[in-house]
Amino acid sequence: MSEIVIGIESTAHTAGVGIITSEGKILSNQRSMYIPKEGGIHPREAARHHSDKFPILFENAFEDANLTPSDINLVSYARGPGLGPCLRTGATAARAFAYTNNIPLIGVNHCVAHLEIGLLEGATDPVLLYLSGANTQVIAYASEKYRVFGETIDIGIGNGLDKFAREAGMGFPGGPKIEKLAQGPDLLDLPYSVKGMDMAFSGLMTAAKSKLDSGHSIETVTYSLQENAFAMSCEVAERALAHTGKTELVLGGGVACNERLREMATIMAEERGVKCFIPSKDLCVDNGVMIGWLGYQMVNGSYQITEEDNRVHQKYRTDMVEVTWR
């Protein structure tokens, strides 16, 4: 019999409620994003946004799916990693909903959810290139865990792009604005920082800003910035593919909505002879659907819900999760 899971996401900017069936049919994917008036994300302000929006997101999700709370078999929420106030808001919403309706509750890892939603696209044992605001990692499964094979050693790629955009006066979120402005084919010399399977972005962002200040056009600077940042990410993913011998690549995270990144990853996969799975943009960004999907996979596997699942974990790293469901 088909089971229905509701997933709740609130690790950073996005409050999300998704409903998905055990067969992977998406019944609703509701999202609302906190956009700061100025500067970067303010955790308390973001949490306030989420608590304001959750009631309507739940309501819309049920209306969209044409279901009532009694149809739900499992509540899954993102335990971490993320910003404390935001995580607690999502956890509170999840607990309140689960306890009121007497439904089991599970807490899942946000980064793993980005990978596992790629399995819904047809991947079976992929390397995930996960590029979002705070998270920039290359993840793959190896001996009972999702392991981080490469990652940023300073700032997340998305936060870097946002910071550049903010300093260039573009506002938030910076990634899509940079993508729109980027215009080749002229390429400026910018730092390309890959160290083994790790990468660094802060020097690149600073150098791009100083190119802009020295009179280069915003079109050329944003273009060069994208070319460098995405080539670095793809190179690291490529190294992880070679190292692990895996033959599938999945993209995830908000930055994976970028068309140029998608193009580069596709070409890289083709040249290496591996399959490339790119989830739709709705599933690349933070969303409740992937949280629900992972929760179902875990419960359906041999994962036992514990007391721990009730608690958020700001620094819940990818490689802390015991993968018992595969």
């Binding site: 390429l187 070319e227 580069m264």
Partner: protein, 200 residues
């Protein structure tokens, strides 16, 4: 014999009548052509400079025969033998661990960090040789050196969990008179969350 790595295609070829290794860096057409050219040239130059420096410093590495920037190719001496990875599965693994530590400290003492000193990047021929300097840099800070040690220890743990190589290796490395600072940096490095969790 052909090996297709993340970075390059490595092949055994004939060069001026003898066996040699050809390493051709992969073309990556996802990268902007200017960026691709810059990176290939930079990395090729850096790799050959590192090999030259090591050779002139008397470290056991394959001799450099030819560098061709246009073809992004390096031709080097072919070493007949087995990788350290295989060597560590023999009865003589203690001896090999000591040689590896000595070789790595020699590399470090010349102001170079290897960048990827896994057990597959050492070859046991008439003696122990270090190979693959594709990620090497001129660098003499303790943390980068410590990161070399970490990479080696990690590859040891991953493939050879049955042998207790760590102590033997670190003891042999500590013979080098500048090793103290590096070993301290290694301790700090290993206390960082990621490495602890990755080992767990």
């Amino acid at each position: 014999m052909i090996f297709r790595g993340a970075e390059a295609v490595v092949e055994k070829i004939e060069w001026q009548g003898s066996s040699a290794i050809s390493k051709v860096r992969n073309k990556r057409s996802y990268r902007h052509p200017d960026l691709e050219k810059r990176l290939v040239t930079e990395r090729l130059r850096s790799e050959s400079r590192v090999i030259e420096r090591l050779l002139s410093g008397g470290v056991l590495v394959p001799a450099l025969y030819e560098v061709n920037v246009e073809k992004s190719q390096i031709i080097m001496e072919f070493l007949e033998g087995i990788t350290l990875e295989k060597g560590l599965r023999t009865g003589e693994y203690k001896k090999y661990l000591v040689s590896t530590a000595k070789l790595l400290s020699q590399i470090h003492s010349l102001g170079i960090v290897h960048g990827d000193p896994t057990t597959s990047n050492f070859v046991i021929s008439d003696d122990l040789y270090a190979i693959d300097f594709g990620l090497s840099t001129f660098n003499d800070d303790a943390e980068s050196r410590a990161s070399d040690l970490r990479v080696f220890l990690e590859s040891l743990e991953a493939h050879h969990s049955e042998i207790l190589g760590r102590e033997i290796f670190l003891e042999a490395y500590s013979v080098w008179n500048s090793s103290k600072e590096v070993l301290e940096a290694l301790e700090v490095l290993e206390l960082r969350g990621r490495y602890n969790l990755m080992r767990g």
